[in-house]
């Protein structure tokens, strides 16, 4: 029925969490395979030879790489249950743009809060908060970015919440005080079982960041 579904992933990967959430929302049974990052297995190189990154969704032996592409794939194949993208083309376009914003801004700037130093780190912290405020503006009074229903942008964004503790500790700043609306949305999203079961423990994410810092020589 669902076919064979394998998710090649890493526990702390916010991109992998997106797919875990989506598969849970759709009630799809799958095999989870953990990559021991930063080391990468031959299987990963075989499944994603071009980018060599997790997550990779493998459906009936065919790999789909890049989390937002795999997210749309999951939504299209298992379209009957809990649709993530709206059906209206204009709303779909807006959802895709905002998911892109999450990758361009939240991810890139969030990364710099732990991997950069001095002025570059300070600038990244400031811009990171600004990006979250832009997202708060987009959310407005809606319960979710998807409107009344938890949707595509919510799935794309919520995994980063599990990284906030690492960003705050490494960057020495508090996100919640600046962006209370964002945190309220995050806590609301965490009440969904698909989310609470898929997100990594923030302490474990922090431990992973320390490993990455050592690996990349950031001190």
């Amino acid at each position: 029925m669902d076919g064979e579904v394998i998710l090649l992933d890493a526990y702390a990967s916010m991109f992998g969490m997106r797919l875990r959430i989506a598969l849970a929302e759709k009630g799809v049974k799958y095999e989870y395979r953990e990559e021991n990052l930063p080391k990468k297995s031959p299987f990963l190189f075989q499944m994603n030879p071009i980018h060599k990154k997790v997550p990779v969704l493998i459906h009936n032996g065919k790999p789909i790489c890049e989390s937002l592409i795999a997210l749309q794939y999951i939504d299209e194949v298992w379209h009957d249950k809990n649709p993530l993208l709206p059906s209206d083309p204009y709303k779909r376009a807006q959802a895709r743009l905002w998911a892109d914003f999450v990758d361009q801004k939240v991810h890139t700037l969030g990364r710099k809060t732990w991997s950069a130093k001095g002025e570059e780190q300070e600038a990244a912290k400031k811009e990171f908060i600004e990006a979250l405020k832009v997202l708060e503006g987009e959310l407005g009074e809606k319960p979710y970015f998807g409107g009344e229903e938890f949707g595509y942008v919510d799935v794309a964004l919520i995994p980063f919440y599990s990284w906030f503790h690492a960003y705050e500790t490494c960057g020495n700043f508090k996100i919640g005080t600046e962006c209370p609306k964002f945190v309220a949305w995050a806590k609301r999203s965490m009440q969904r079982e698909s989310v609470s079961k898929s997100l990594a423990d923030p302490e474990k994410v922090y431990d992973f960041v320390l490993i990455l810092k050592k690996h990349f020589g950031v001190e």
């Binding site: 789909i64 592409i69 749309q72 794939y73 299209e76 204009y90 376009a93 895709r96 892109d100």
Partner: protein, 224 residues
């Protein structure tokens, strides 16, 4: 009531061309507004407040930004002559390679274009490797989409135009028939397609534009 479709673009942007082609393939009437990016119009800033970039498609007053997102919007709104494959896996592959084109291939070709002589060999290796991956996607097919032009052909359209302009300026052949027989053949078919060929920006203007850009990048290291 007739639909109102507007496209905000610059004369040279390869991203805007994707939309021009898509609208032509679907037979959609639209108004073009050419923008000068050094002096953006209030309308553009109103429709794309976050980035202020072109192209922007405005359909009945509602703006859509980012060329690949616009392509999907066009395909989902006007469903005849579909641009994307129907099968979810094939659709994912088209999206993946379009992203690869923009994120990896275009960047590596650009890096080669603006490289100083001493860095050119290394830059060329990356560009050629990426081109090879795209070449492999074409095997056995006339267009990336199959027998007809589709989303991925439009996404890769810049290869058929900009690459030959950069090659002329660099005096360096990247996509040659021997190393890239499928890509060379695709370029020919794509360039010859009636919907495509009438839309290219003036070549001489493009050469001047990119020549100036290259000089600006190379200038600082030039000894006085």
């Amino acid at each position: 009531m007739a639909e109102e479709v507007k496209l905000f673009r610059t004369w040279s942007s390869p991203y805007a061309l994707r939309i021009v082609w898509a609208l032509k393939l679907k037979g959609i009437e639209y108004e073009t507004i050419f923008e000068d990016l050094t002096n953006k119009s209030p309308s553009l800033l109103q429709y794309n407040p976050i980035h202020g970039k072109v192209p922007v498609l405005v359909h009945d007053g509602k703006p859509v930004c980012e060329s690949l997102v616009i392509l999907e919007y066009v395909d989902e709104t006007w469903k005849h002559n579909p641009l994307l494959p129907q099968d979810p896996y094939e659709k994912s592959m088209a999206r993946f390679w379009a992203n690869f084109g923009d994120d990896k291939l275009m960047k590596s070709i650009w890096q080669l274009f603006i490289a100083h002589e001493k860095d050119q060999d290394v830059a060329a290796v990356a560009a050629l490797e990426n081109l090879k991956l795209v070449e492999e996607q074409l095997k056995g097919k006339k267009f990336f989409h199959g027998e007809t032009i589709g989303y991925l052909d439009l996404a890769f359209g810049w290869i058929a135009n900009i690459v030959s302009i950069l090659e002329e300026i660099m005096s360096l052949k990247l996509v040659d028939g021997e190393r890239f027989p499928h890509l060379s053949s695709w370029i020919q078919h794509f360039m010859d397609a009636p919907v495509i060929r009438d839309c290219w920006p003036p070549r001489d203007k493009m050469i001047i534009k990119f020549q100036v850009m290259r000089e600006n990048y190379l200038a600082p290291a030039t000894p006085k």
